[in-house]
Symmetry: C2
Subunit: 432 residues, 2 copies
């Protein structure tokens, strides 16, 4: 019986899930792979807490070096998370000739260029399917299924926490703060939810996706990022009135010599498949030039869905080990010599339709003022909704524009903001 | 520059698409694969018709033997279709040591057991992603992404022709015959549409899926198959009233020592992702024990989507050639020695909710008669809808049952059929 020996770094949710899954499904894994997955060592700073799994204490250690330097271990599964400690141990593991499987999107997005070059030089595989969209085969689809397509665009819901919060606001009319509190209470949001609600986690995933899609170096820092903290129940109600849902989308478009890359709340038609994705589910629409849209949908996080993705990588790498075909597929989809720096278009350069909500004093001529300024910047208006007079003499005016350049929108809004009758900064939501 | 030499059998829609795609996207293919795909020979009985592609006439031949016996060709792409001629040439190609890529679901479903055994003995790969769901990565997802999951069930819309026809009846209230004629006129249905509308094509795909999911020998002939020819606008209207859509689904469920496998029109909730799949799109919901539902959606047919799937296989096999890892993944997902005969449960043994439409004379006591017989067989009724009196004294009665065993439903319907007041055989549609 052939064995693939695994070392696990971190026995948190994902690490525990991986252990559980191998324990419960070793028979089907063996019948398909033709070899057994054997967890030889697990390192965690806490090896005493009961995680609800039966585990041989002899394989537990508090010293991660023991795992990455064990000569019998073939593959290191990194589930520590974060960028620094994880990076150090992965580097040690690569230098010991181990293959790497990780779900760590922050690490890949920020240090992938370095890691991958070293891995290729050392002849080891790094796999990271679980870093985007949990159990959904997004990386496999882009690297393998769509391999002979040019990728035109991808639009995706890639953060379950944000999607859960937006679904709650939509369904219950809760405020953002209440919806976040509920998400935290139910374990869908972290105590410090910044990475999720500010869109950073989504952008990490977008950076990885784009690299695979276009053959470009990972470039997290130039992605435009806007979180969901400013979305109000009123915007969601207005979206509904116009036939839209608001989702935090990762969007990338192939623009030839450059690419669009942005994360922001987006209004999408209620008919769009992505509009129907509720709760902590993830989904992506990927458009290949020959396939048109492919939509993939499933659990984007959680112990077992993530463990499933990690194990699909572990088994892919195991097959490479067994058939002596390490690095059979280039890590970033393109052969190393064809990976380029491709510029990300500044957000001012994109074109979109826009939802703009103004908060104004209820005076005659306000609408004419605002639409006059928009007209000056060649922004044409698709529809206007003005709510009835309020008790405090303040009214919201909502406008939907036709396609316009973001630069022109920004200039117009700057001018509009300075009008006496405009009370708060306008709320801008892009429509896709 | 490394070359992978391809031979194409059949220059119909798919063969032409493959040629076009390599021609138009050779640059991205080369940058990703690290080798060029080179179509060395194409065989077709008609090599004179203009197919809208620029093709070097020297590579065309009417003799398929020239292609399968060319010593320089690495991979044979079979796009002839049908079971007999295709089988013969594939066998010749395998015996010449060629790897095979095919979209031929009828062939795989009926002769896959034989073909795969011979291929494994001869050490060649056979790939057939395009045989299920066009460009959607269904086979890759089951063989690779879900590899460490037990598969609980799959429900899928796998035939674009049927889905197009059902969408038309739903949207326009057309009769089945009119919707079929429209589908034929638009090229979505063949002149002889039997394979599609009778559910046979869907069952071919289901047979392949099940084999991969459960490690069972291909068993097409025991799948229960019911087509869409009996669906009326009235059933679709009633479905809508109860909150359902009617779709032709392929359904398989893992029942432990046996499996369910059936193709039939099915009422699914309008909230179900599959209910929202319209026109010639395909979609599947696959449930793994650790992932829960994964939904995959995209074009299930057409020249370029199918070519895209064929080329994803060609490139997978090319990578196996380049890294000398032929048969890296077992053809039917399980290692050969673990593939079993697994019995398909007779349709009488399944349990479901049912929609039953009776056509009866408008007389007092009819409803009591019918529900009395259902009650005798322990079938409890969820809701009843009786339409108003018609001019010809004939009324439809529609009943939705709770979960019941199909055997009991059949017995009850047999008894009900024999009632004097029941005019036509009842229409039965399973609810999922």
């Amino acid at each position: 019986m052939k064995n693939i020996n695994l070392g696990v770094l971190g026995l948190g949710t994902v690490g525990t899930g991986v252990y559980k899954m191998i324990d419960e499904n070793h028979d089907v894994i063996y019948k398909r792979l033709g070899a057994a997955l054997n967890i030889k060592k697990i390192a965690d700073i806490d090896i005493t807490t009961d995680r609800g799994i039966k585990i041989d204490k002899k394989i537990l250690t508090t010293d991660a070096n023991e795992v990455v330097q064990d000569p019998d271990i073939d593959i290191i599964i990194e589930t520590i998370g974060g960028e620094d400690i994880a990076f150090d141990y992965i580097m040690k593991a690569i230098n010991s000739g181990k293959h790497i499987v990780t779900a760590n999107k922050a690490l890949i997005a920020s240090k992938g260029n370095t890691l991958f070059n070293i891995a290729i030089d050392r002849g080891v595989d790094i796999a990271f399917e679980a870093s985007i969209g949990g159990c959904i085969p997004i990386i496999k689809t882009i690297r393998e299924t769509l391999i002979s397509n040019r990728i035109n665009y991808m639009k995706g819901i890639l953060n379950g926490t944000c999607n859960y919060i937006l679904s709650k606001i939509t369904q219950q009319g809760s405020s953002f703060e209440d919806a976040l509190a509920e998400a935290q209470q139910k374990g869908y949001a972290e105590a410090d939810p910044t990475l999720d609600i500010e869109g950073i986690d989504t952008a990490h995933k977008l950076a990885i996706f784009m690299s695979l899609a276009y053959g470009m170096e990972l470039d997290f820092k130039n992605i435009y990022i806007e979180g969901i903290t400013k979305i109000t129940p009123m915007d969601i109600e207005m979206a509904d009135k116009f036939g839209y849902r608001i989702k935090l989308l990762a969007i990338t478009k192939n623009r030839g010599d450059s690419v669009e890359a942005r994360v922001h709340p987006t209004m999408i038609s209620q008919d769009n498949m992505l509009a129907k994705v509720d709760g902590s589910i993830n989904a992506v629409t990927i458009n290949g030039d020959k396939t048109s849209d492919i939509v993939l949908y499933g659990y984007g996080a959680g112990m077992m869905p993530t463990a499933s993705a990690v194990l699909s990588d572990v088994i892919d790498v195991s097959r490479n080990i067994l058939s002596e075909s390490i690095l059979r597929i280039p890590i970033l989809s393109y052969q190393k010599q064809y990976i380029q720096k491709i510029p990300i278009l500044p957000i001012e350069e994109i074109e979109s339709q826009y939802y703009i909500r103004f908060t104004t004093l209820d005076r005659p001529g306000v609408l004419a003022n605002i639409s006059g300024i928009l007209g000056k910047f060649n922004i044409s208006i698709d529809s206007v909704h003005q709510k009835g007079r309020s008790s405090n003499n303040i009214v919201p005016i909502v406008m939907l524009t036709h396609e316009a350049k973001e630069l022109h929108i920004n200039k117009a809004l700057n001018e509009i903001k300075s009008l006496d009758v405009v009370v708060d900064p306008p709320t801008l939501i892009r429509i896709d």
